[in-house]
Symmetry: C2
Subunit: 428 residues, 2 copies
């Protein structure tokens, strides 16, 4: 296809007229689709319904360690669930704490602890004049929301195809003690679907931050969320790398079964060094009575072990793949060569990330919304919701049906074309 | 029975010898009983096993509002569960937020929010030189642990038979802006089983604290935990009283089903004014993705409504009553008139509180432990674990069997007698 950039003003005006007609047609269809959040579809949730048959009134309610899962006690989780989450993260189960249904709340809790109490004896971050966090972007809006809530200054780090810009990160952490941490979604990153290369993981593990209480928040949300059985990204296990550098205390890892079983009623977990775990547990024992062990017991018995989890994930992949491909294949067919946007076909995770021409993302999202398709707000993938180029759009294909996804993608492409033509006309 | 205080030195020495023999006998029995925490017994937990049959793989997973309880969404709880928890507290469901499995974590969260972010626009408490909390004591050790963790100065408020010393409280709050709040367990208080009188509730609701961000943490943990169907304490609903004084924003109320269904896997809730709820939700939406709605759905369908909950509580009462009476009846029989201790026969809640002679509690708890009966650590019921009179002992009768409870009480009484005789001999 001919690049829009090569079109004359007259050709652009002609195209605009045609596209506007198409858009008016599409808008009149009364679409009502929500692709704003990475929500599993009902069919995906159905995959785990048997989880509800695992425990019933006649079940043995004892965990492997003999504890009655119904009662108080066992702060860090029942052993069988710790083992499964440890295996998902590739760490020893001694380094794992099981949380409630939301790993985001574990992230909030450790961030909040650092603010109020400091980290392994450091000055509480809230007592410092300035605290900065490195935020590879586009990234996960809820990470940035936590950071912003605490008044932490966010520094946007550009993403390369193999992870965040490590030169910039190394440079920023080495002299500035106020740089206290970094957010990472290291596998099938939200929203780009990028997996950090071995080199990037090694460089992160080898960081020598000026701040001794620098912490990497390693949100391994999509650790096992592959779309293609025969073409999986493999993420280097970070704690082993940290150990080589005496850096075990530098990383907090998080994961959950929110996109494995029930999005709103799964099991979360975190992993950290022995020293970090001990500190977190010491606080946790005051912050709560303990997490829901009945849900842990149901999950552990349902999956039996990591293999059970991985088998289960294949069923998710089968449901998600066509939806992702409905997006990327249509992009390929309709947008290739037009030079009005770029994208990466992700091998896992929950999103397709689209880079429009500069200054077009907000307008595209608004146009889609006008015609009934809700996308994540433009800019949401950047700190302070401020996408400097106004170009990143996050598409969440999981919730609508494949058919809806096709319709929505057609509309999206129409909006991309129309907004791009308008942009080009501004400068024509 | 003759008061120990009237015994001569010789009589005391003789008694001491006899009691020591009895103690040696008891100690040799190899008892191993834990009465340290208010844990429900296995039989109590069994009462709720049917909860596990409510949802299965073929159930309709939609809450009343049409939301799929398996998925993300609905931050403050599904409507049917909000209604039940609202009815337990006697407040409108619009004023309720459903939490996770631990109301303690809701308390921690709002306290933590006040420290970091302030309350309805006030200066964050962590930015103040001094923050003080009023702590009616004996009270709940985990309340005091949260307060201490934040470095808040705890002021011990003596408990009367109808609640905390209100003269002292009114006096402390009226001029001192650094007094920011107060802990209350207003019904069947932990550990004394005292229910605040209407007058006390009215005086709390009418407080005019110097600090505009003063907050009462109203932990209504035992709202429906009556032991006697025909002799229940009735607690005045505090928000209605607050309203009369324009004080709706002053109270955060908490409750849970931890001692209704499963101690470790129940449903927690809080109630507050519209303004407070709005503020808390605004933070919660960043602090977590949402709480486990599947457990809410199971609970709501299991109970149907407040009447279902109240019927269920009668079964708990039937199991708990004999254990409580094993303690108080034996006290009555063995200790009455000896003037070496006092207690109140509670009409609900989870504890029997024993007041020994001054300076005896630690020694009694240690003696019990030596012979195999673990009680809550002496002093634990006071701020900083510091019982100024060293006299309060908390007994938790719920977990052991009735027979074990009898044995444990016999031993306890023996230890009380022995330690008291020793104490009297010190001054004889």
């Amino acid at each position: 296809m001919k690049s829009y950039k090569e079109l004359t003003k007259e050709e652009l005006l002609e195209l605009k007229e045609k596209l506007e007609k198409e858009y008016a047609d599409a808008a009149s269809k009364g679409l009502k689709l929500d692709m704003s959040r990475g929500k599993p579809s009902a069919l995906q949730l159905d995959l785990s319904n048997d989880l509800l048959d695992v425990l019933n009134s006649t079940s043995n309610m004892q965990a492997e360690n003999g504890f009655d899962a119904r009662n108080y006690g066992v702060l860090d989780g029942i052993p069988e669930m710790k083992q499964i989450m440890a295996d998902i993260m590739g760490v020893p189960s001694d380094n794992v704490i099981i949380g409630g249904n939301a790993s985001l709340n574990l992230m909030y809790t450790v961030m909040s602890n650092a603010m109020i109490f400091g980290v392994l004896g450091s000055t509480p971050w809230s007592k410092l004049d300035k605290v900065k966090f490195l935020c590879p972007a586009p990234g996960y809006d809820r990470h940035f929301a936590i950071t912003e809530l605490f008044g932490i200054e966010m520094i946007t780090i550009p993403m390369n195809n193999d992870g965040p810009d490590m030169d910039m990160i190394e440079n920023l952490v080495k002299d500035d003690e106020s740089v206290k941490g970094m957010w990472c979604v290291p596998k099938y990153s939200n929203p780009q679907g990028i997996t950090y290369s071995d080199e990037v993981v090694k460089r992160i593990a080898a960081l020598k931050p000026a701040a001794k209480d620098f912490r990497v928040f390693w949100d391994n949300a999509y650790a096992i969320h592959d779309l293609y059985e025969d073409d999986k990204d493999v993420l280097l296990e970070i704690f082993a790398e940290c150990k080589k550098n005496g850096n075990e205390n530098m990383v907090y890892e998080f994961c959950s079964t929110s996109k494995v079983t029930f999005a709103g009623a799964g099991i979360s977990a975190m992993a950290a060094s022995g020293e970090n775990i001990a500190e977190i547990k010491k606080k946790l024992t005051i912050q709560t009575i303990g997490f829901d062990k009945m849900n842990q017991l149901a999950h552990a018995r349902y999956f039996k072990d990591i293999n059970g989890v991985l088998e289960h994930m294949k069923k998710h992949a089968a449901l998600l793949r066509p939806k992702f491909e409905a997006v990327t294949d249509t992009f390929e067919k309709e947008l290739k060569g037009l030079e009005i946007g770029s994208w990466v076909k992700p091998k896992g995770g929950y999103f397709v990330s689209f880079e429009s021409m500069e200054g077009c993302a907000k307008a595209i999202v608004a146009k889609c919304k006008e015609a009934g398709v809700t996308l994540t707000g433009a800019g949401a993938t950047y700190p302070y919701k401020n996408d400097p180029k106004d170009s990143n759009i996050r598409i969440a294909p999981s919730y609508p049906t494949e058919e809806e996804m096709k319709q929505a993608t057609e509309l999206f492409i129409l909006c991309v074309k129309l907004v791009s033509v308008n942009k080009l006309l501004e400068n024509a």
